[in-house]
């Protein structure tokens, strides 16, 4: 079993990673007029999003943001749930349940990002 120190350290390390990646996400989506000279509506249009999604850099950015966000959030949720007066069996259920649920959401997010990355306009 992984040492709690490593799990906690990753929880903290995820914070600066999220800040940087979220900043890039904001630059791409919400501050497009500032950084790309296009309106927010244009930046959010299907064609532009698909075009951007085909970039390997954006693919990596969103997979990393997904992983960091999910890890940070679910580790925090585990901390809250495990503080409840649980039996050892229920504590284990919380640990495994959160791990499985987190991996499922990560798989779904990865699938969506991959779908966008590999989408070809016009089939």
């Amino acid at each position: 079993m992984m040492r709690e120190t490593r799990l906690w350290s990753l929880h903290l390390l995820a914070i600066p990673l999220i800040l940087v990646l979220l900043g890039m996400h904001f630059a791409l989506m919400h501050y497009a007029p500032v950084f790309y000279g296009m309106s927010v509506e244009e930046a959010r249009s299907f064609e532009v999003m698909i075009e951007r999604g085909r970039s390997i850099a954006q693919f990596v950015l969103y997979i990393l943001l997904l992983a960091a966000g999910l890890y940070h959030g679910f580790y925090g949720l585990r901390g809250i749930l495990r503080e409840l007066p649980l039996t050892p069996v229920l504590s284990r259920v919380v640990d495994v349940g959160i791990l499985v649920f987190g991996l499922l959401i990560f798989a779904l997010g990865t699938y969506v990002t991959w779908w966008t990355f590999s989408y070809r306009i016009g089939g």
């Binding site: 040492r3 709690e4 120190t5 490593r6 906690w8 350290s9 901390g79 503080e83 007066p85």
Partner: protein, 281 residues
């Protein structure tokens, strides 16, 4: 320091004492007593007065009467304090509530069951662990420690195991399995000791979910400590030690003790010359 001016005029004080006898009471209840309190009287002395004249069955635990043994921890006016160090008139209220320490099972009246404290303390192996067993069992010399090395953990050695910090801790209140400030600060005290090589043996207890990462940083433990120890700081220092160890940057300690042969010590004592006299007879 609390600089508020207290009314230390001798007067009648009402003591609200939480009573509970598991043999006869279904649940704890509050009982009031009046006592004329003079300046300097501690809560412990007041309890002795009450027991002598008004409440002969009142039970509590105490011993040294001078803040050394840590036996008389109580919840006085909603704060965990040592009864022998708390002067009644300095509390500044005409009604003083006295209850057993929270976060512990109640044995009787003001007597808490301190087993959780002792069990958690024992779990972190509160002793210097050294792999050089023959030297530990049958010493041939001294394990050296410089004043600077001692200073690294000195304040944590002042812990008297009174348990006030656990009673004050909001995390222990919601998570009874949390090791708590006393045990974690002591884990740091021994881990930081240059003679100790026992971090890996302690990891089972401290590098776990209910270890230092559950601390909510309330700092109530440090406020409650009657000896001025800062367990909250100890927990943060323990975190740093664990993180550095987990990434391979932990303090490397020699498995071989820096033993000064006893013969050298004896020689040094023999060679010791007192400073020259400054006063002539």
């Amino acid at each position: 320091m609390n600089m508020a001016v207290k009314n230390t005029t001798p007067r009648d004080i009402t003591f609200r004492v939480r009573r509970f006898d598991p043999d006869s009471d279904a649940a704890p209840f509050w009982q009031e007593y009046k006592l004329n309190v003079t300046e300097g009287m501690t809560v412990l002395e007041a309890l002795h007065e009450l027991k002598a004249h008004q409440a002969p069955t009142l039970a509590w635990r105490s011993s040294c009467r001078m803040g050394v043994c840590g036996s008389c921890g109580m919840f006085i006016n909603e704060l965990p304090q040592l009864a022998c160090q708390t002067q009644v008139l300095h509390l500044g209220t005409d009604v003083v509530s006295v209850a057993p320490l929270p976060n512990y099972p109640n044995v009787k009246d003001l007597v808490p069951n301190l087993e959780p404290l002792i069990e958690k303390h024992a779990a972190i192996k509160p002793f210097v662990i050294h792999p050089n067993s023959p030297e530990v069992e049958e010493p041939t010399g001294e394990f050296l420690q410089t004043p600077e090395e001692r200073e690294a953990f000195s304040q944590f050695t002042y812990c008297i195991k009174c348990g006030l910090c656990l009673a004050a801790c909001p995390t222990v209140a919601t998570d009874p399995l949390f090791l708590g400030p006393q045990a974690l600060a002591q884990a740091y005290r021994y881990t930081a000791d240059n003679r100790d090589c026992g971090l890996q043996e302690r990891l089972v207890a401290i590098d776990a979910f209910h270890g230092p990462y559950q601390c909510h940083l309330a700092g109530a433990c440090s406020q409650a400590c009657p000896k001025g120890v800062d367990p909250a700081l100890g927990i943060q220092l323990l975190k740093r030690t664990l993180v550095l160890d987990s990434i391979g940057f932990g303090k490397k300690k020699s498995a071989v003790a820096r033993v000064s042969p006893l013969a050298d010590v004896v020689k040094a004592i023999e060679e010791f010359a007192p400073p020259p006299r400054t006063v002539t007879q």
